[in-house]
């Protein structure tokens, strides 16, 4: 009798131990994470901007423009609807200009001609060999400068400044004119509507058109 009781107790302990062990394994590896909330797009977009760290999965890689469609280089040949550029990665590439191609040179559809020596960035649909692109968009001679102002000169059209570019240290003459867009926390307006006082030592970011003499016509300043 004693032996039978002992066996039953032992078997009961084994069964209970097995169930408890199984539950423990399940909970440790699977239970808790399944209870965590999954972030939603709304929650992310409407959240506090100052959030530094959360448990999130980064959004998937979903570019606006596929990498293979992007092209940039220096113009070596120009015809009416065809431009040949020299690129670092692909050698010479032909860009076909179609009526739908958007072109920025100082502004969109400025009608300024594209010339040999211009540099450009854009995107379009490449052929199989990526030697010919039918272009959707081109931005020509566009530059982005950041740095402190080292001199200021008032002009009839606005103001000329010399900017010490932060990366290169190269001083660049920048022309700010009446239609240059000025971006502030309160919005974006033309320089003539928002005349700002520029002083030596102020820091600016300038988007502009590089001119033949190396100076830059500012189109947008931050």
């Amino acid at each position: 009798m004693k032996r039978k009781t002992f066996v039953y107790v032992l078997v009961s302990i084994l069964i209970l131990g097995g169930i408890a062990g199984g539950l423990s394994v399940t909970q440790t590896y699977a239970g808790l994470p399944l209870l965590m909330p999954t972030p939603t797009v709304d929650a992310i977009c409407s959240g506090d901007d100052s959030v530094d760290s959360q448990e999130l999965v980064p959004p998937p890689h979903s570019p606006l423009v596929p990498l293979e469609n992007i092209i940039g280089g220096t113009v070596v040949e120009v015809e009416e609807t065809r431009i040949v550029i020299s690129t670092a990665a692909r050698g010479q590439v032909t860009l076909q200009i179609v009526p739908e191609t958007r072109i920025w040179k100082g502004k969109w559809d400025s009608q300024l001609p594209i010339e040999v020596g211009d540099f450009l960035y854009g995107y379009g649909v490449p052929n199989e060999e990526s030697t010919v692109f039918e272009m959707e968009q081109l931005e020509v001679n566009i530059v982005n400068l950041r740095g402190p102002v080292s001199s200021v000169t008032q002009t009839a059209a606005g103001v000329d400044i010399v900017l010490e570019e932060s990366y290169t240290g190269v001083p660049t003459l920048v022309h700010i004119e009446s239609d240059t867009l000025v971006t502030t926390d309160s919005g974006e307006n033309a320089f003539e509507e928002t005349p700002i006082e520029v002083e030596v030592g102020d820091g600016f970011q300038i988007i502009g058109l590089q001119l033949r003499d190396g100076s830059v016509l500012a189109t947008r300043i931050f």
Partner: protein, 171 residues
């Protein structure tokens, strides 16, 4: 004899039950680990672009304007942090991945590789606290500087210059 048979049957059942429980727990664990959230740092700031990478330069080397590369303001290994003392982001190593999303509606997004560090001399580069007449006029610091290819891939037009983004890093 019968007792022994009973004992063997009961022990066998226990072993089978244990195996089933462990298998169930293990499978659920795998599925959950795959779906478990990663610990990701993020910051809402501004992104801009630059075009100085030639394929062999940059603070990390091999920075290419034709690739989805970027400059980050804080890379301890290259001493970049000395130039960005007020950077609000933590240090990343060369080759780290950062996912940058247009804000909002939370897309498109591109994953870029850190191959360079931004310059921060107090008025430009990744510091980006532009001032006018000595007064800060733009509160949105630039956190990441994208190559032209990265910027076009994310946003399309370089002429917009500076765009609000959410950057995901440390993953």
């Amino acid at each position: 004899m019968i007792r022994r048979v009973h004992l063997v049957v009961v022990v066998g059942l226990v072993v089978a039950l244990l195996s089933l429980q462990m298998r169930l727990g293990s499978d659920r664990g795998k599925a959950s680990l795959l779906a478990a959230p990663l610990l990701v740092s993020q910051i809402d700031a501004h992104a801009t672009w630059y075009n100085l990478c030639n394929g062999s330069n940059g603070a990390c080397g091999n920075c290419s304007d034709a690739s989805v590369h970027a400059a980050w303001p804080h890379i301890d290994a290259t001493n970049c942090h000395r130039d960005c003392p007020n950077s609000s982001v933590t240090s990343l190593s060369c080759g780290s991945k950062v996912t940058v999303s247009d804000l909002c509606p939370y897309k498109p997004s591109v994953e870029v590789e850190v191959r360079d560090c931004c310059t921060c001399d107090g008025t430009g580069g990744c510091n980006g606290s532009s001032r006018c007449s000595g007064t800060s006029w733009n509160s949105g610091d630039v956190t990441i500087d994208l190559t032209t290819t990265s910027f076009i891939s994310l946003h399309g037009s370089l002429s917009d210059g500076r765009i609000p983004v959410r950057a995901y890093y440390n993953y």
